[in-house]
């Protein structure tokens, strides 16, 4: 263990510079955030992730945001365990009918002001699962969405670009 820890001190830092906020995300947020209270939260947002029906591909990339290369927390973004502690709901998947009620309850349990970020192509409109008897559609069919981050799945860098845009707009 000592060798590993020591090497970590002498090693070059793995964490990469944060990307610039995504322009399209900034434009989408400029519109959607007008209706939200622009509370001053400092440079910090707490995120509650909700899988509303994804294939778990998006979850893998969201997980990666915590690794040494992306190190989400240095940007003031952190994942929390309860919607009651959250400013942001990060929702993945086509919303399945079996998860719609749970998503709605999670949204209602999140205190205002709050933002919803829909992650992945399925979260936009159901993606390749649209039209199934078991799918309610994109996230916006169930709860209001402030920002979409597209991709199947979006890479951690794409996720970061969107979240940084949110951080800048929400300030």
């Amino acid at each position: 263990m000592r060798r590993t820890l020591f090497e970590n001190i002498t090693h070059r830092v793995l964490t990469e510079p944060a990307p610039k906020p995504d322009e399209a995300a900034l434009a989408e947020l400029a519109k959607s955030l007008k209706r939200a209270a622009r509370a001053k939260l400092g440079r910090s947002l707490s995120i509650r992730q909700v899988d509303a029906g994804s294939c778990n591909g998006c979850e893998l990339e969201i997980h990666a945001l915590n690794n040494a290369f992306y190190d989400l927390e240095r940007l003031g973004l952190r994942f929390v365990a309860s919607p009651r502690h959250a400013d942001v709901l990060l929702v993945t998947g086509p919303v399945t009918r079996n998860m719609r009620e749970a998503l709605l309850r999670t949204y209602n349990a999140t205190p205002d002001p709050k933002w919803v970020v829909a992650v992945g192509s399925c979260a936009v409109d159901g993606g390749i699962f649209a039209g199934s008897y078991a799918v309610a559609g994109g996230v916006k069919e169930t709860i209001p969405v402030d920002l979409h981050i597209r991709g199947c799945p979006p890479s951690p860098t794409e996720l970061l670009k969107g979240l940084i845009a949110l951080l800048e707009q929400a300030r």
């Binding site: 263990m1 899988d51 994804s54 591909g57 969201i62 399945t96 079996n98 199934s132």
Partner: protein, 502 residues
């Protein structure tokens, strides 16, 4: 003697490949159940069709598979679960999706239909949904028991499912799972889909195993249409499958330790996992390698500088991973949490035909790559690590040993990668034909069964994740353990919700 010869059947379906499918009557169906109940063969799958149920059986030693089909009379078939419990959830799912009833089944509660759909039996004779009856959990009675309901929305970045714990103080007396929350209706979307669309759906059944699903789906299509793929494509498929296995095992080994609050391991294996995904992107243009395996071969060849990226990954893994193994093995506080925690008894693993590290940590010596010898694994050399202890620690060690095997496999593939084409043309025939494909995902064997309609479309496709036979064992593994050890047990299994719920 082939497995199929021991089961009395009426006819053999000619257009089913590569293993036989036979139509049986009551005696043949009962004989198949008998073979399962006596442990003579393993249940690979049980799924519905228009008016029929199909059951796939595996003779592990011989590497032989047979599919038996039973034509339901007035929507009924004799229950398999009545004598062979691993079939129980499959029967409940068949009822929800097709409306076919298993006569004599010990549990008639719904499984995937949680009461939110507009239709009942969406894949069978559809009916308008009625108000569902309240779901009743199994009882646990005794003094001082309390219940802890968890989910479907969990505390971490994890898929949704409901766990109902009944505990006596800290000790779990009973865990009952309720799944189905991420049911997307994949099998209904498969019906009538073009081969391209169906391949995309298969690759999104469980995102962490997208390569394995695409692999199994392609094998099933190629079997049905009798397509022979170029050797280079087969080698590249295995390369991707091993890379996917590495990434998942790295991630999970760290995550298990993290659930025992040992964050250092998580941070270190997280770096290795990220390096795997970056190598995958350098080689195949997608971090999870989605949609790269297609029926007929590969959508694209490996990038010219791909092999160098992989050799750099191997060098890094050979340098740092042994140190992490040592770290795991020498941290007493960590082993205190993993050794003797969440034991799956070998008899149960065998009965359920548990695949992957769950089975192999409990003495079930099965790996589809070795036992079924699909290309290119028949030409590669590797060990299948098997342990007997069945606890969290054993599952960690099986994963550690599998990481080592995958590293050598990637090296072998890079050294022996044949030149040439990477895709054979897919010519659809005008005949109805059926195929069965199995591929070893990181968590166990994925089964894909399909029927093509003779017009270039999928008529019916069934996908069976290894999780179907692992989730029930998690209920058994946690019994008598403390609630705080559940995350450890759960992560050491890492069953798929999406792959199970479909």
């Amino acid at each position: 003697m082939a497995l199929i010869d021991s089961i009395k059947h009426r006819e053999s379906v000619k257009a089913h490949r590569p293993w036989p499918r036979v139509v049986v009557g009551d005696d043949g169906w009962q004989k198949a159940i008998e073979l399962l109940a006596r442990g003579r063969c393993t249940l690979l799958g049980l799924w519905g069709d228009a008016g029929d149920v199909h059951m796939a059986l595996l003779d592990e030693k011989a590497g032989d598979i047979a599919v038996v089909s039973y034509a339901c009379k007035s929507g009924e078939y004799p229950s398999v679960a009545a004598r062979h419990p691993p079939a129980l959830r499959l029967e409940r799912a068949i009822r929800d999706l097709f409306g076919l009833e298993a006569m004599g089944t010990p549990d008639t509660r719904p499984w995937l239909d949680l009461g939110f759909w507009d239709v009942r039996h969406p894949l069978g004779k559809q009916q308008r949904a009625q108000n569902p009856a309240p779901y009743v959990f199994l009882p646990a009675e005794g003094e001082g028991l309390h219940q802890i309901p968890v989910g479907p929305v969990h505390a971490g970045i994890i898929e949704p499912g409901h766990f109902r714990f009944t505990a006596n103080g800290e000790h779990v007396v009973r865990l009952e799972q309720r799944l189905g929350y991420v049911h997307k209706g994949i099998e209904s979307l498969m019906a009538g889909a073009s081969l391209d669309a169906a391949a995309k759906l298969a690759g999104r059944t469980s995102g962490d195993s997208t390569v394995a699903y695409s692999f199994a789906f392609a094998l099933a299509i190629e079997a049905a249409l009798q397509v022979k793929i170029p050797p280079r494509a087969a080698y590249l498929r295995a390369l991707m499958a091993e890379l996917e296995r590495l990434a998942n095992h790295f991630g999970d080994i760290g995550a298990i330790c993290n659930d025992a609050s040992f964050a250092l391991m998580h941070a270190q294996t997280g770096i290795l996992r990220e390096r795997c995904l970056r190598a995958a992107e350098a080689c195949f243009g997608h971090r999870l390698m989605m949609d790269v395996i297609v029926p007929g071969g590969m959508a694209r060849d490996i990038a010219p500088d791909g092999p160098n990226a992989l050799r750099a990954l191997l060098a890094e893994a050979h340098k740092t991973f042994p140190r992490l193994i040592e770290l795991y093995d020498n941290t007493a506080s960590l082993l205190d949490r993993t050794v003797t925690t969440g034991i799956v008894k070998p008899a149960l693993a065998r009965q359920f035909g548990a695949g992957g590290h769950v089975g192999r940590a409990s003495g079930r010596n099965f790996d589809a790559r070795r036992n079924l010898r699909y290309a290119p694994y028949d030409a590669l050399t590797f060990d299948v690590p098997v342990l007997e202890a069945g606890d969290v620690n054993a599952r960690v060690w099986v994963r550690i040993r599998e990481v080592e095997q995958s590293l050598t496999l990637i090296e072998q593939i890079l050294n022996a990668l044949p030149d040439g084409e990477t895709r054979a043309p897919i010519k659809t025939t005008a005949r109805i034909c059926e195929g069965l494909g199995l591929a070893e995902a990181f968590r166990g064997d994925v089964l894909v069964w399909l029927r093509l309609d003779g017009k270039g479309r999928v008529a019916r496709c069934h996908l069976r994740d290894a999780s179907w036979f692992q989730w029930p064992l998690l209920e058994a593994a946690i019994e008598g353990n403390i609630v705080a050890d559940f995350p450890l047990c759960n992560k050491s299994f890492n069953c798929s919700y999406s792959g199970h719920d479909l």
